[in-house]
């Protein structure tokens, strides 16, 4: 389960942000996950409390936003939504496509509190 390793990396970044902001608490963490990142949202939610324990984010809520899979066709240039194991062009059916979105794994924003200056 690599989600624990990824949650630990996430917590590392969140702790850095809290530190930069002189914040002692993190209340919300917003992450964008594409299905093709190889990371499963339920497994992230399960791993999160383990990674967050004992850090400024121990009481934080993790908000995961799933991004759509979108491909661009090399043949007809159309952009279309696709499924994980069917990344073919929705317009002409050609398989020579490139991914426009769907593999992201991004820490978007963090809500911090109890700032001490």
């Amino acid at each position: 389960m690599h989600e624990l390793a990824i949650c630990q990396a996430l917590i590392g970044q969140v702790v850095d942000v809290a530190h930069e902001q002189h914040a002692s608490k993190v209340s919300d963490i917003f992450v964008r996950i594409g299905p093709l990142s190889g990371v499963e949202s339920p497994l992230m939610q399960n791993a999160f409390p383990i990674a967050a324990a004992g850090t400024v984010a121990s009481d934080a809520s993790l908000h995961l936003e799933s991004t759509p899979i979108v491909v661009r066709c090399a043949e007809c240039s159309a952009e279309s939504e696709a499924r994980m194991n069917r990344l073919v062009c929705g317009a002409c059916g050609d398989w020579r496509t490139t991914l426009v979105s769907g593999d992201e794994l991004i820490l978007q924003r963090v809500v911090v509190g109890e700032v001490h200056v």
């Binding site: 389960m1 690599h2 624990l4 390793a5 990824i6 990396a9 996430l10 590392g12 970044q13 942000v17 902001q21 209340s27 919300d28 917003f30 992450v31 093709l36 990142s37 190889g38 990371v39 908000h63 995961l64 936003e65 799933s66 491909v71 994980m84 194991n85 069917r86 990344l87 073919v88 398989w95 020579r96 496509t97 490139t98 991914l99 992201e104 794994l105 991004i106 820490l107 978007q108 924003r109 963090v110 809500v111 911090v112 509190g113 109890e114 700032v115």
Partner: protein
Amino acid sequence: MCDTCGCNVTPAADTHSVEVLKGLLDANDHAALHNREHFERHNVLAINLMSSPGAGKTSLLEATIEALGEKLRFAVVEGDLETENDAERIRKKGVPAIQISTGSACHLDAHMVHHALHDLELDDVDVLFIENVGNLVCPASFDLGQNANVALLSTPEGDDKPAKYPVMFRAADLVLVTKSDLLEVLGDFDPDAAEAGLRQIANPAPLYKLSARTGEGMDGWLDWIRREAGSRQ
């Protein structure tokens, strides 16, 4: 307004929101970039081998070393975290093998590989194989700094694996259908179906059939290594 992106979370008086926009795997990607610089500086071709457990990674390495060991200088980083078995098998062939012994048991990351590199004299290496942990899910998310990803799909696993593990097979630069000597016995593995599954996930990677046991089909793979290694010299 929605619940997921947080635009409706009203901050309390003493809280505020900080935009970050950073990849969760930034630290790993940074280490991978560093590994890549190591490989480039020493003209090393680094190949990340990924597959399910027992698909034949170590056997393929043994057969590859036997076939090309006189022409190319190999080294292997072994991701088997539980035992020294695979590293021992490689060393028996006269090739240096570094065993990675720390980290999570389901995948390698760029830091672990970097650590292993310090035990290798890269000036004496043409081709570095990284045998990842046998797992079709976790290793796919971690860039190691490799020049190429090679995914093995053994015939007993079934030809539908590219569709079932799209993240792994999408990342492959080359797919090897291994244990081709079993095709006849199995009867229901269709290499064309495996290739079709690979195209369905928009991967143009070549797919070769081979058997490390009988040597059948090894030439295509060996030529591929020579070509890739040659283009770096």
